[in-house]
């Protein structure tokens, strides 16, 4: 039985359709994340799960039970938001015990039979942890008597997390929990979330627009775009092999080319894709990818229409057929810059291009290089800084690059784009 199931959720605000048939399933004990741009309705999904908002259509199930008509305070789906939102009239320990005390007072009012039924749920569910244990786990012991105005943002966010843990939740819903934290607290809280997930076996659904959060935390990711779950799966798979061009753009995939499958040789594990390099179409593609480098170039070459072709090789893939239009994506770290002093091994013979470095930027720990090939094709390449130095690379230097055919990921082209 799935812990949480959402089926065909629709939601509109006034005339604006925000969710248009969202489906997702979450297993117990997992950290799942919903990823998407701001304003795509990610938070709306969470609000519907915890009952703050009511969906226009569709069902929400927890442990197989339909909770559409259950009041928010009866669902055990606590929220943790981007702000800690601690109750300023209570001190830290009162904040943490807030939900726990409410549960107790509700319980006392119920008759014995219901208490028994509830006990059953608790026995089958998580082990119960005391506020003290939780505080220790989250590293906030000693703050009990302080008031929310007297503690740091990072501590406050951990208290907010502790408060959610105390209600013995079915699932904790987190809405951009890191967006107001500085980088150090962010890393700490991230690790804490991982720890509590392991230690307490608590399920978490995280909403974020930061792909780093997704990669570092989640067991499973859902990409929400245009009101639908566009893609889902293990974050590494989704990131490396996006199933649609929309997903690829969303997760910031670089080096996307468009072409036609020209030849398939299954026995040699080979597919050939013809890429037409056309000034205009490429410019458009790069615009969409928020990269304006080519624009500059094309302006320089104004009136000088480039219309050439290259052939790329990729691994055989049964899902494609000859003549089909496809997108190709290569991760920047998978492109090799060939060393001049070495002979060519078999691997680097694949998809070889020569060109020159037109820009190199030092990002955290890596060099981000853009190489323009002879046929005005730009590739973004990431290499470690020491490699950049060892190879004596610099801007305007001529280099040879190679794209291993196994690293080329093909995406079906839909008619939409």
């Amino acid at each position: 039985m799935k812990l949480l199931e959402i089926k065909n959720i629709h939601k509109s605000f006034y005339d604006k359709k925000v969710l248009d048939g969202v489906n997702l399933e979450i297993e117990k004990g997992e950290i799942s994340s919903i990823f998407g741009f701001s304003g795509e309705g990610k938070s709306t999904v969470l609000k519907i799960i915890c009952g703050i908002l009511k969906q226009d259509e569709g069902d929400v199930f927890i442990n197989g039970k339909n909770i559409n008509n259950m009041e928010s305070y009866k669902r055990r789906t606590p929220l943790v938001m981007d702000e800690p939102l601690l109750f300023s009239n209570m001190n830290v320990i009162e904040n943490i015990e807030f939900g726990l005390k409410l549960n107790k007072s509700h319980k006392e009012k119920k008759n014995n039979k219901e208490i028994e039924a509830r006990g059953e749920i608790e026995r089958s569910g998580n082990k119960f942890y005391s506020p003290k244990e939780i505080m220790e786990l989250l590293g906030i012991t000693g703050l009990e008597k302080r008031y929310p105005s007297e503690i740091s943002m990072g501590q406050a966010q951990r208290i907010s997390l502790a408060r959610a843990l105390m209600v013995n939740p079915d699932i904790i819903l987190m809405d951009e929990p890191f967006s107001n934290l500085d980088i150090i607290s962010k890393v700490k809280v991230r690790k804490l979330i991982k720890d509590i997930n392991k230690e307490l076996n608590v399920s978490i659904l995280l909403v974020t627009h930061d792909i780093e959060d997704v990669m570092n935390l989640s067991d499973k990711m859902f990409i929400l775009n245009e009101g639908k779950i566009q893609d889902s799966g293990y974050p590494k798979d989704v990131l490396k092999k996006p199933s649609s061009i929309d997903t690829a753009f969303l997760i910031g995939t670089e080096n996307i080319l468009e072409g036609i499958v020209s030849e398939i040789r299954q026995n040699d594990n080979l597919m050939k894709i013809r890429v037409k390099i056309q000034n205009e179409s490429k410019k458009e593609l790069y615009d969409y990818n928020k990269m304006n480098l080519y624009e500059k170039k094309s302006r320089n070459n104004n009136g000088n229409e480039i219309n050439s072709e290259i052939v790329m090789e990729a691994d055989f893939n049964i899902n494609f057929e000859t003549g089909e239009r496809v997108y190709m994506a290569v991760r920047p770290e998978d492109i090799m810059i060939l060393r001049e002093d070495r002979g060519m091994s078999a691997g680097v013979k694949e998809n070889r291009f020569s060109g020159k470095i037109i820009s190199s930027i030092f990002t955290s720990r890596m060099m981000e290089i853009i190489v323009e090939t002879e046929k005005y094709l730009n590739f973004k390449i990431l290499i470690p800084f020491h490699a950049y130095e060892v190879m004596n690379l610099f801007e305007s230097k001529a280099v040879n690059i190679s794209l291993k055919k196994s690293s080329i990921h093909l995406i079906k082209k839909k008619n939409k784009l």
Partner: protein, 272 residues
Amino acid sequence: MHLKKNRIFDIIVYIISFLFFTTLIILLSGIFFQTSAHLFFKELENHSLWNSVLLSFKLSFIVISINLIIGIPVAYILSFKKSKISFLLDIISTLPLTTSPLVIGFAVLITMGSLNPIGKFFIDNGLKFVFTPQGIVLVQLIISFPFFVNIVKTSFDSINRKMIDLSKTLGASSFDILFKIIIPLSYNGIIAGLAMSWSRSIGEYAATQMVSGVIPNLTETAPIEVFVKTSYGNYPAAIAIAGILMIISFFSLGIFKYFNYKTGIKNSGSNR
């Protein structure tokens, strides 16, 4: 040159403010110049004076208790249940603030009179609102209610809605939210509202006079006593009561301002 201009500005602002404060203080304290300390304290021994003041206290405490019970749910509706008619409800609940108190007293007098079907209904069931203390409570309630509700609503408005949503997911029902979060976070606003509506109620004259009938010890409140004493030409007695009323206003306003400032400081700080 620049500095001089600013100096002139300061001087103008200070002079105007100074004139305002001194004029007001002179006007209000002027009544004490027409009496002597001896006369003033002699009047304070008068029983009918204390009876009227006590009656005013008693009635205004009933008024603010009712304000508290009705005002919090109304402020809750106005602040948390915003809808298309919230604007209209806001106007209706604030209307007595801008309507002449005399008109309100008059309306109650007519509606609750024996010739009116509504008044007749209440009278037949043993509830008389004309020339009775409960009539005074009714009009003072109508007049002081907007002060309480508006101040409490402003206080409720300043509570973070995301926090309220979040507390629901922690298992808090609407009752829990009201009593454990909203009210504790609005203590200052509620106390300020009570102080304000109380001083409005204790000083109310016009509407009260319409329904009171001026019956000593029963419906003769302190402000009415001031008027009655003045019309008899008994100025020392009127001055004594007026003085007491002024001191009461000063202190209740002090309470209001103190708690209102506190709310302001709290809300300007970080709200986490």
